[in-house]
């Protein structure tokens, strides 16, 4: 073992980007598991693994962004694209509540024609059904700002007033401008993503943060991503959780790229836990990894199983179709020696 880094981590000290890169380049998976488990145990001495009951609602699949890693969107000229009606929204929300769900993860494509008022009305309508709305990733907020000709703080304030409760960390992909220019040039940039999250935190909206890795980025780019998240968190403390998951290439423009292996996933997860010492929670991605690897994630830094995802469309469009019920999640968590606990978006226990 290279003991300088290990000593730092085990003493509760922060490691820098170069040290994180060294860990990411190492193939000593068990060492990463030890270190990540030590950090996880320091932050979460109680033997709990949390999960949330919610549903992903994608209000539209029409999107002008055309990201190369996405298998979900429909181009505006494609007649298959659609926008959910408020009746459909109501039905999905009522089903969610009947299943014990506490929140809706609301995300959609960057629609060219819907006015900003549509989103305010949608949030306000949903809020009337009494459910937590975890909605609109930074690229959507940035898009609203552009179509409405309003600054981001005002867009955010108006959505909050309409009933928005928190913001999901999607659309982060890799927070490196060069990677974004290559894969998603029409979407908000890395600094803009951070700017939106900064503003959300200032307005008291909690958010999560994600990373989609394993496409065109280098290991250095991944570390830049983690560094940007940690820096903002030092300033605001507004991130509740970090969720890394590997790019799923099927049905995308980047389908020729190899799939990230489980070994690489667990390494990335562990390094995220070790480096992001100021983000409380790390989520396992059972949707992309399946139940077996998701359970192992709990030994590589994850303390949260994410959501039951009563509905999920985006990863499914890329040919990955793992499904887990609440009872299956509980069994997996118990099998790993932890107590499963349902939580809310802000990680308070139900």
């Amino acid at each position: 073992m290279t003991s300088i880094i290990d000593d730092k981590v085990l003493a509760g000290e922060r490691i820098d980007g170069a040290e994180a890169l060294e860990l990411l380049k190492s193939n000593d998976l068990l060492r990463l598991g030890f270190l990540a488990s030590a950090v996880r145990k320091r932050l979460h001495p109680e033997p709990l693994v949390t999960y949330v009951i919610d549903r992903n609602i994608n209000y539209t699949d029409v999107c002008i962004s055309a990201c190369k890693f996405c298998a979900f969107y429909k181009a505006p000229e494609d007649s298959d694209g659609s926008v959910l009606s408020f009746d459909e929204l109501r039905q999905k929300i009522e089903e969610t509540k009947d299943l014990g769900g506490t929140q809706i993860l609301l995300q959609g494509g960057l629609h060219p024609d819907l006015p900003f008022s549509f989103y305010e009305e949608m949030v306000s309508f949903m809020k009337g059904l009494d459910i937590h709305i975890h909605g609109f990733s930074p690229p959507e907020i940035w898009h609203f700002s552009e179509i409405a000709g309003l600054p981001v703080p005002e867009v955010m304030a108006r959505l909050k007033k309409a009933g928005l409760d928190s913001i999901p960390g999607g659309g982060a992909e890799i927070l490196n401008e060069e990677c974004r220019a290559q894969t998603s040039p029409r979407k908000c940039g890395a600094s803009q993503w951070i700017e939106v999250m900064d503003e959300a935190h200032k307005q008291g909206l909690r958010t999560s943060a994600t990373m989609m890795f394993g496409h065109v980025e280098s290991l250095e780019d991944r570390i830049e991503h983690l560094q940007r998240i940690r820096d903002l968190q030092d300033r605001t403390g507004g991130f509740t959780a970090f969720i890394p998951w590997p790019f799923q290439p099927d049905n995308t423009v980047l389908a020729h790229l190899p799939k990230t292996s489980a070994f690489t996933y667990l390494k990335m997860l562990a390094v995220s836990r070790i480096f992001l010492d100021n983000v409380d929670n790390i989520q396992a991605s059972w949707v992309t990894q399946g139940p077996k690897v998701a359970q192992l994630s709990l030994s590589f830094g994850a303390n949260d199983f994410g959501s039951t995802m009563i509905e999920e469309n985006v990863v499914a469009a890329a040919g990955v179709s793992f499904r887990l019920s609440e009872s299956e999640i509980k069994t997996l968590v118990e099998g790993a020696g932890y107590l499963p606990r349902q939580r809310l978006m802000d990680y308070t226990l139900v």
Partner: protein, 361 residues
């Protein structure tokens, strides 16, 4: 962290190459600290195999699913009058092998049910047919359970039967049919099957004739941890006597379409634990296999850090586990094995059945 996990004593034993007791084995199974178990197993793995990680280019042939044993954990075996029963003629087997003559297949892996009617000559002719179209291939065929059955129908000793099979082309014996050796488990799940002692006896007889074999354990049904340790102990004792086992392969029970369908599937931690404990305990087995057909390619790759040094083969048309609801792939290309193994920081080695190196990558 090993000390914190209460495994400090076992760590010392493993470092000094001292044999683990049954009680040590039990403590390992009882631990939920999978990273610590991996650390212990990896010491043994690297001592015996370094970074080498083996795979083989092979072909599976399941000649018939007709079986008189009808074990409760099996979704493959069918009664002779079942609508789903099938059997291949010797000609069918020959054709299966011929279909893939263009591929660099090193091993034919052939197993089937305990068929009530097929004559002894069928098995001899099946081996000869394979050898006639593919003379250089190694045939790994007939579990100890099938061998005992063949001895019975040929009215010969196991030794004589094995000699005849070897003369017809049998190269080695796969590890199936071991299940869990405990009489309690066999009575409850597979009462008609060859006993645990009987299984070990066939394997040892083969070893004495110079025929190598593998060993398995089917975990995750109704067995206790004590019964798993007992199973491993019996294998370790037999190996001390003969040295004829090459590889131990823990097999994850797949409940779907079996009489035990009410049980749940093994979890990722269970799968890794069975590999890691076996690697620590079976100090006289050269190899531990992560059988990806059972646990999936993702887990098999992770298992390379938890004691496994073999990822089995490229396999096509695997039927037995897929009948029990396995959602794993049917075939994995050699190039995919090579990249998975390299990504895990190990050295890919394509092998033949007896672990001679074909190509290092």
């Amino acid at each position: 962290m090993i000390e914190q996990a209460g495994l400090g004593g076992i760590l010392q034993k493993i470092k000094s190459q001292e044999r683990l007791t049954a009680d040590d084995g039990l403590r390992l199974y009882q631990s939920s600290d999978i990273v610590s178990l991996g650390y212990l197993a990896n010491i043994v793995r690297e001592r015996i195999n370094g970074d080498n990680t083996y795979f083989i280019y092979n072909q599976h042939v399941n000649y018939s699913n007709i079986c008189t044993n009808l074990c409760k954990f099996c979704a493959f075996g069918k009664a002779a009058d079942s609508d789903f029963a099938y059997e291949m003629s010797v000609e069918d087997i020959r054709r299966k092998v011929e279909e893939r003559l263009a591929e660099p297949i090193r091993e034919i892996h052939m197993v089937g049910g305990i068929h009530p009617e097929l004559p002894y000559s069928y098995y001899i002719e099946a081996l000869q047919a394979i050898k006639s179209v593919r003379p250089d291939v190694h045939i790994q065929a007939f579990t100890c359970v099938e061998i005992a059955h063949l001895a019975e129908i040929s009215k010969q000793s196991v030794e004589e039967t094995l000699q005849e099979l070897a003369a017809a082309g049998l190269g080695s014996i796969p590890g199936g049919g071991a299940e869990v050796f405990s009489p309690r488990i066999r009575e409850k799940t597979c009462e008609k099957k060859l006993s645990g002692e009987g299984w070990i006896e066939v394997a040892k007889t083969a070893h004495r004739l110079g025929i190598k074999s593998n060993a398995t354990m089917l975990y995750g049904h109704i067995e206790t941890l004590e019964e798993r340790v007992e199973h491993l102990s019996m294998l370790r004792d037999a190996q001390d006597e003969t040295g004829g086992f090459m590889t131990f392969i823990p097999l994850a029970f797949h409940p779907k379409n079996t009489e035990l369908a009410n049980l749940s599937r093994s979890s990722g931690i269970e799968d890794l634990k069975n590999i890691a404990v076996a690697r620590c305990f079976l100090d006289n087995f050269p190899h531990i296999k992560a059988y990806w057909v059972m646990i999936g390619v993702k887990l098999a790759q992770i298992a390379l850090s938890f004691g496994a040094d073999d990822m089995d083969g490229t396999v096509k048309e695997e039927i037995i586990t897929h009948m029990a609801g396995a959602e794993t792939e049917q075939a994995v290309a050699s190039s995919h094995f090579i990249s998975l193994i390299k990504e895990a920081g190990r050295r890919p080695v394509e092998r033949d059945t007896l672990y001679n190196t074909i190509t290092e990558y």
